[in-house]
Symmetry: C2
Subunit: 163 residues, 2 copies
DNA sequence: GGAATACATGTATATTGATTACATGATAGG
DNA sequence: CCTATCATGTAATCAATATACATGTATTCC
C-alpha cells in the first residue's frame, strides 16, 4: 500500500510551480531543486500537461506554469488521476478478476468504500491549501538546494549529447 | 496504490475459516479451494497465527481454525497489520525521508489524514459482517471448486498469468 | 538561417518489491 | 517408525516501477 513516486513527483511539481505563480519554470530547474531524474520529471510534467494542470511552452525561454490558479487544483483529483493506470477502468486495490469467490465476497464493497473515504479527504484539499503559509519556507528550501548541489553530471547532460 | 496479494490472501483465509467455525481446516484444502500457491498460503497462515487471528494445530489431523469468533476480528486491523512491513514503524504512503521539502510540506499531513479515513471505514467492519448472509454462497463456491479440480497443473499456475 | 534552449515521445534498461518455489525441521497420531 | 501437518529460512522468479537513452519538434535569439 504505497503511492507511486510518479504521483509524489507530480505533486512536487505542482508545489514548485505554486510557489512561483508569477514566472515560468523549467524542468532542469526543478530537477536541481529536488535532485531527481530529469527524464522522469519530464514525463510527469507531460502527463500533468495532458491532464490540464500545467501549461508548457516550448523553445528557448520556454518552460512550465500552472494552467489554473492553485485554488482550482484539487489534490484528490491529481492523485486519483496519477494513480490510475492508463488502461484501467478505475483503480482497484485488489485483483478480484481472478478470484473464485468474487461473486460472494463482501470485502470488495468494504474496500471500495474505504477507498472512497480516502479520496474524499484528499478532495477536500486544493493546492492552495497546501501552499498556504508555506510558500516562504518552500522558496527558502528551493533556493538553498538549488545552489548547494549542482546535480550529478549525468543528469545534467542534455539527452543526445556526445560524451 | 494497491493492496498486496498477501493481504488479500490473508482475508481469504479468514473468510474460509469463518464459513467453517465448527471444524479445523488444512492449508492444502484452502490451496485447492482458491487455486493459489500452497507455500505462500502457509506463510500467510503463519503470520495470521503470530498475530493471534488463527490457531494452528500441528501433526496429523492438524490444521487451522479461527482463534476468536468472527465478530471479534476487525477487518481494518487485519489489513493494517498485513500491509505494515516487518520493520517499518507505521505504513507511509510516500517516501518523505529522502525529500528535501519535507519540513515545509503539507501534503504529508493530508495524505495521513486520508489514510486514517481509509482505515476508519475498514475498522467499522468485522469478519462477521463480511460473512453475514454469504456463508451459504461461499460454501457453495468452495465445494464446487474443490471438487472440480484436484490440484494438478491448473491450481498451481500463478493467478493472473497468461501464457 | 543557424545555434541554443526547452519540451515531446518512444524505447530500453535497471531497480525494487512481491510472489512463488525449494529445502528442511518440528510436532503429533496411529 | 511412518505419515500428515504446520514452521521457517533461503533462493529464484516475476512484474511494476523508475530511470536512462535517443531522437524529434518547437521557439527564440543572434
Ligand atoms: S476482495 Fe474478495 S473477491 Fe476480491 S480478490 Fe479478495 S477475496 Fe476475492
Ligand atoms: S509528501 Fe511532501 S515531503 Fe513527502 S515526499 Fe512528497 S513532497 Fe516530499
Amino acid at each position: 500500500m504505497r503511492l507511486t513516486r510518479f504521483t509524489d513527483y507530480a505533486m512536487r511539481v505542482l508545489l514548485y510551480l505554486g510557489t512561483r505563480p508569477d514566472r515560468i519554470c523549467t524542468i532542469p530547474e526543478m530537477t536541481r531543486a529536488y535532485g531527481i531524474s530529469q527524464n522522469h520529471l519530464m514525463k510527469i510534467v507531460h502527463q500533468l500537461g495532458r491532464a490540464g494542470y500545467v501549461t508548457s511552452v516550448r523553445g528557448r525561454n520556454g518552460g512550465i506554469r500552472l494552467a489554473r490558479p492553485a485554488a482550482m487544483i484539487n489534490v484528490g483529483a491529481v492523485i486519483r488521476h496519477s494513480e490510475t493506470q492508463p488502461g484501467a477502468e478505475g483503480l482497484a486495490l485488489l485483483d478480484c478478476q481472478t478470484c473464485r469467490i468474487a461473486p460472494a465476497c463482501a470485502l470488495t464493497g468494504v474496500v471500495d468504500e474505504a477507498l472512497a473515504a480516502f479520496f474524499a479527504v484528499l478532495e477536500r484539499h486544493t493546492l492552495a491549501d497546501l501552499l498556504h503559509g508555506r510558500t516562504g519556507a518552500l522558496l527558502d528550501i528551493f533556493a538553498a538546494t538549488a545552489s548547494e548541489d549542482p546535480l550529478p553530471a549525468a543528469t545534467c547532460v542534455p539527452p543526445g549529447f556526445a560524451r
